[in-house]
Symmetry: C2
Subunit: 500 residues, 2 copies
């Protein structure tokens, strides 16, 4: 071999690596094409619904407050330690602020659509093929887990195509709704919340699934019996909260299956020589953010991170074949880590006192109280003092009040509004004061959050960009700033798939 040849080969090696060293991940460069470095065979996509920088950062400082050893520094989560960070826009075809259907469509199939529409072109109705369907066609196994119903927008965006996300059971225009599409998808594993919010229709679709060869697990016992040779599986939470969803982590009983259980089982069931694509959604980070309930957000986000820890263990076994991507679909609530009254001070220890989500507080305290004291005029906030203290750490007793008088007045007004008693509308208006939520409960979480230094601006999604965190084979292509549709192309590229 002569010197010239050596230089030629050297230069080739150089070019090859230079190309993969400097992936074109910036907005200006469009879609990334990966060359060379092998295939992502085991692909995890973790979606924190409604999760962006504020939710993640709050969870980290909450952990530090809990163990009280960190002198203001965050406790990093499993996924925030990943080496690659990306940033994405979430605007959809019709609006700067996306909805979960159009957001998940963007990263599941690489196309923009309008609010509420799933995997359809808003102009001509063309159906989009999803990354999960491409994976299935390529012989990989596919799993979908969600903490909310499996026909909810995010999980549905991996198998479904409907003009409106609300079409779970079929309607005149689209007789085949999301539930039937799920059952007929042929995907290998579904886990988490129920298929639909109604127990009866959930049972019906499970019967259909059984006929199509699925093994169904409805109890922890049945769940534990599932294994890698079971075949196709649908495994659901036994108890549901909040229209067919799994319980908030903060409300979950030890006997309830968790997002960690559904993720662990998924890994066990999906592992096979052809690889897998496994999407896991934490859907109630979003719901809790809509309700401005930081405690419920944080507990669900930490459980989500524990599920990611299992993927990380798997990655350590197969580092050259595994890719883990964690992202959000949009931010929800306009969560902020600073509040006018607390200025530069944050006290996350206040949030450690919360023991119930807003939903559990409504279901266990507020609504039963209203039934119990049916005479509106006889309802008194004093009756709820101990429940409020136990649930949110807020002490309303005059002798031991631990919030400001102003905050106490707000809670009083919210109580009267919740109880149907006469009350003057606050200057900001009811829509800002409490939105469509139970006034007392949302004002309690507001006040608790504010005392920790956490603010909220909305009960809806916001236009803030979301963060992505990647580790594993082709991790580098997920760095930089790009549109959320690019996530689909980046995933496909990492999996060496040709997609349209």
């Amino acid at each position: 071999m002569n010197k010239k040849l050596l230089i030629t080969i050297g230069a080739f090696v150089l070019c090859l690596f230079a190309a993969s060293c400097s992936p074109k991940t910036g907005i200006v460069d469009g879609i990334t094409v990966v060359t060379g470095k092998g295939q992502a065979k085991y692909v995890f996509l973790f979606v924190g619904d409604g999760m962006s920088a504020a939710q993640i950062t709050a969870a980290q400082y909450y952990l530090s407050a809990k163990d009280n050893t960190k002198n203001n520094q965050p406790t990093y989560l499993n996924f925030t330690k990943f080496p690659v960070v990306g940033l994405s826009n979430t605007d959809d075809y019709g609006s700067i602020i996306t909805d979960s259907a159009s957001a998940a469509t963007a990263f599941a199939s690489g196309r923009k659509t309008i609010s509420a529409m799933i995997n359809m072109d808003p102009v001509d109705g063309t159906h989009f093929k999803t990354i999960a369907e491409y994976a299935k066609d390529a012989g990989m196994k596919v799993g979908v887990v969600s903490t909310v119903t499996l026909t909810h927008a995010t999980p549905a965006s991996f198998y479904g195509k409907v003009a409106s996300r609300g079409n779970a059971e079929g309607n005149e225009n689209e007789p085949v709704g999301l539930a039937q599409q799920l059952v007929e998808s042929g995907f290998d594993y579904y886990g988490g919340g129920w298929i639909t919010g109604s127990s009866a229709s959930n049972d019906k679709y499970l019967d259909d699934a059984r006929e199509l060869g699925y093994t169904i697990a409805r109890t922890p016992q049945e769940f534990n019996e599932l294994n890698n040779s079971t075949g196709k599986v649908i495994a659901l939470a036994e108890r549901a909260q909040d229209s067919g969803a799994m319980h908030y982590e903060i409300d979950r009983l030890p006997s309830d299956l968790s997002i960690v259980d559904f993720t662990r089982k998924g890994i066990e069931l999906l592992e096979n020589p052809n690889g897998f694509f496994f999407m896991v959604e934490s859907g109630k980070i979003d719901w809790a953010s809509h309700a401005n309930d930081a405690g419920a957000v944080i507990h669900d986000l930490l459980a989500f991170d524990n599920a990611i820890a299992l993927a990380l263990e798997f990655y350590k076994k197969y580092p050259k074949q595994t890719l883990i991507l964690v992202t959000g679909d949009h931010e929800t609530g306009g969560m902020s880590l600073g509040w006018a009254d607390t200025g530069h001070s944050m006290q996350f220890d206040k949030i450690t006192k919360q023991t119930r989500s807003h939903v559990a507080f409504n279901e266990e305290i507020v609504w039963p109280y209203k039934e119990q004291v049916s005479n509106t005029a006889q309802r008194r906030i004093e009756d709820l003092y101990s429940d409020i203290l136990e649930s949110f750490g807020i002490d309303l007793r005059p002798e031991s009040l631990n919030i400001s008088i102003t905050q106490r007045n707000q809670i009083e007004v919210a109580f009267r509004r919740s109880m149907g008693q006469a009350v003057t509308e606050p200057l900001e208006g009811w829509s800002v004061f409490c939105g469509y939520y139970e006034p007392l409960t949302v004002k309690l979480t507001h006040v608790l959050n504010q005392s920790a230094g956490i603010g909220w601006s909305s009960y809806s999604h916001t236009a803030l960009p979301v963060l992505s965190y990647a580790i594993g084979v082709h991790q580098e292509i997920f760095g930089g700033y790009y549109d959320n549709t690019e996530i689909f192309y980046k995933l496909a590229s990492a999996m060496n798939m040709k997609v349209k």
Copy 2:
């Protein structure tokens, strides 16, 4: 040459490139050490004070609203097109929420300190050496530009060491204040706002600077005469607004020098064979965010981006020797891109109607009106209708009201509060309603911002992480998630400097 040698060399080339391909930029890996790829000789550090994802994203959608061609998509800024994005925590030694002094100390000298302290150890008082001082010692030229006073926390953190950022002119404990430290720094170029907020003391320090060999430019004419052979320069805005700062971009007259002018001149003056370190701060993104004035934020951020465009032009001339890093020191205001009343709708076109910052509105409208109508009881909001419409696009005339009745009521309350008339405190309390700002003005920007879909939660800094954007030599080490102190080490590493 034999085959074995070829493989050895090939493997070496491989390792070399693999090492620089996969820079250790994650939190878990600590400080990045760069090997191989040459030195960043021309280094730009652009600091958007108070700038994080919300401020940047708002500026992008504002541009799209302005040119009205983008169907909800953002118009990317010069710096958001950079290929590398990083994310940093900003907590300081004493608090989860940093102040600008401790934040700038973190990235200027790699160490945590407490709020208000600049480049000093909070425990033992040790002074920290800054990246600018290391650059100066290495024979590079150093430039510092800020839109606020040059003794303000961010610019001061590149040359100064004081126990309290307020010590501009010396006190009993520290006789040598920041202004004297600036004059004695020996740095090559200072530009932007005045040295101090007082005209007389500013003149005094300029005299001292002249004696130490600085050429002083106080007028645009003097400024235009400066060139690469002038020597050391201090060039200040002729007019100041808001305690010695440059005018908000939205209020700036064409005859006023802008951040773009000061940056262009800096590049011209600093270019030399030994390279330079050039820090440019947009300081009033923060001040406008404190005041919850999105219009002023956006205009200053866009001017900042235009200044960055000049660095980008320079980079294109010397791509292998230039590094541009754009970062924020913290988020301010808890700015959010979603508001309870507007839900999923955002209307950035509303912000295009704003013609004055909150400061200009106070100075030109509110305070003169109070002087003009000295009898408190005779002040009527109707007198300000046309000024409010012209300044903020808010039409309060009953026949053409373009905000909600609720918002109108809030402005009425704020007017009465501003005018010293009797008014009932709103349920949320004055501290949340208007903070320490002029009630009428802050409520006008609140209402304007809300109608666009923008919310605010605080008048202070927040704990949200900040974004960094990098392009140029060693850009890749600025990707990932890391503490703000790492920026110092990354810069030093890119500049091939040994630092303690």
